[in-house]
């Protein structure tokens, strides 16, 4: 597994110019989660806003600091999840987690995961899986706060 396949250009681009960076105001339709990787100190605070009926994700914003994998992953998640129905978001998170924990046996489908599919390679670096998962776990927890 080469370093270049882990740090694809797409990942480095997202980490340098992250999407959705800067937390939006909280309101009745938002959920916020802070996640930290105690091993390296990476942190992500993510805020998700849902539609009035609670069934659709309206936008995701975040702040944080950490390695390029954790920052790129949060940025890619923002692009992917905007406007997605709640149920579909849960499926995406589950599928992402399964692939990341698969030690390289499951590739993320680019048609489904868009830019985030580039994170498939992370699953072969077990020490980095948590970095990539950080924002996704934050989304899961943030969504659970909304109804």
């Amino acid at each position: 597994m080469s370093l270049e396949s882990l740090y694809q250009e797409l990942i480095l681009d997202h980490s340098k110019r992250p999407h959705g960076f800067g937390l939006a105001e909280a309101d009745d339709h938002t959920g916020t989660s802070y996640q930290r990787n105690p091993i390296c100190g990476d942190e992500v605070t993510l805020r998700v806003r849902v539609s009035e009926d609670g069934q659709t994700i309206r936008d995701v914003t975040w702040e944080g600091q950490g390695c390029s994998i954790s920052q790129a992953s949060a940025s890619m998640l923002v692009d992917l999840i905007d406007g997605v129905p709640r149920e579909k978001a849960a499926e995406l998170i589950d599928g992402f987690r399964e692939a990341l924990r698969s030690r390289g046996t499951i590739e993320l489908d680019e048609d489904v995961y868009e830019d985030a599919a580039a994170l498939s390679g992370v699953s072969k670096f077990s020490a980095r899986v948590k970095c990539a998962m950080l924002a996704w776990v934050a989304l899961e927890e943030g969504l659970a706060q909304t109804s």
Partner: protein, 422 residues
Amino acid sequence: MTPLDLAAIRADFPLLAQEVNGHPLAYLDSAATSQKPQQVIDAEVEFLTHTNAAVHRGAHTLAAESTDAFEDAREAVAAFVGAGEGELVWTSGATAGINLVAYAIGNATLGRGGEAARRFALRPDDEIVVTESEHHANLIPWQELAARTGARLRHIPVLDDGRLDMDAAAELIGDRTRIVAFPHVSNVLGIINPIDDLMALARSADAITVMDACQSVPHLSIGLPATGVDFAVFSGHKMLGPYGIGGLYGKRELLNALPPFLTGGSMITTVTLDEAQYLPSPQRFEAGTQPVSQAVGLAAAARYLQELGMDAVHAHEVELERRMRDGLREIPGIRLLGDTDAAPRVGLAAFAVDGVHAHDVGQFLDSRGVAVRVGHHCAQPLHRRFGLTASVRASASVYTTPDEVDRFLDATGGVRAFFGAS
């Protein structure tokens, strides 16, 4: 002093002769855990193959041989750090050793240990002094002890160049100070702290001293009694020995006055259904089954280091540290932590790379076969003090070669270009 014969030493460490990611391994993470020479591995295998039995009980031949091996191991490790009889307690590691002392002091505060232990008892407003450079293992047990007893926790700040602020220490340590806990060598900065000065301050305040010697015992010639400290801890796996074993050194008189922390089998004289009498140190602090084969392995490690000669070990590692630090200074965008020539050091260097997270640096170096530690190295307050959440640390041991350091420097020089840091 005979300089180290690196080729001969490396032949003793089978693990080092492997490739990682298509490159020969350059293992520069010995401050986290050292590799083990064949002599240590063999000592454990030999013990488990031929001698193993329960120690300090049983009348059969193997039980006696096992007990002898266990106590001979204690004697060898005690000799290595200069400890006398009854002054070396086995623990599962340095963390366990510090917790033992902290909890035992807590027990004394509750009145356990009777008259003899009263000198350890803390009162509200008593002060425990630590340093800002502490490994979490020499910080959190004191936070907890303070919380349990009402004592106040204070800290000696670290200066910009990484040295302890000894002027502040002189202000801090005073009448209220009951415990002074400090690292002999910072596991992040590699600076050897001025322990004679710290000891003088602690002595004038009549405070108990607890020294984290994890990063000094494997790298320096050190006689713990000569330092004057009351208690000191070190871990086996950082000094070429096995996991799951470490040492707590304590002045004999203090250990025998200290109430126990863990209680149970093997640490008692008489037990009734209502109460128990305790053995003197070290057995008093060794409740339950002990890590016997690990003790035997650790003794082999101590003998290995002793044969190399600790002055030669230190000279070798300091030379590598200079090579690391000089080389890192040449690389643009590198910020060394504790980059000072005003203090003696051991063989490690920690740094941050401008524009690249430590984790990414570590991954890049790993792809070149270079193993370093990344993260906060269990010293979050120290990293916060330098405005960082994480750093990269390269550390040397007896088997580290100048060539490995050069490969590390070469790879580090390529980090910022790879990640497009500007």
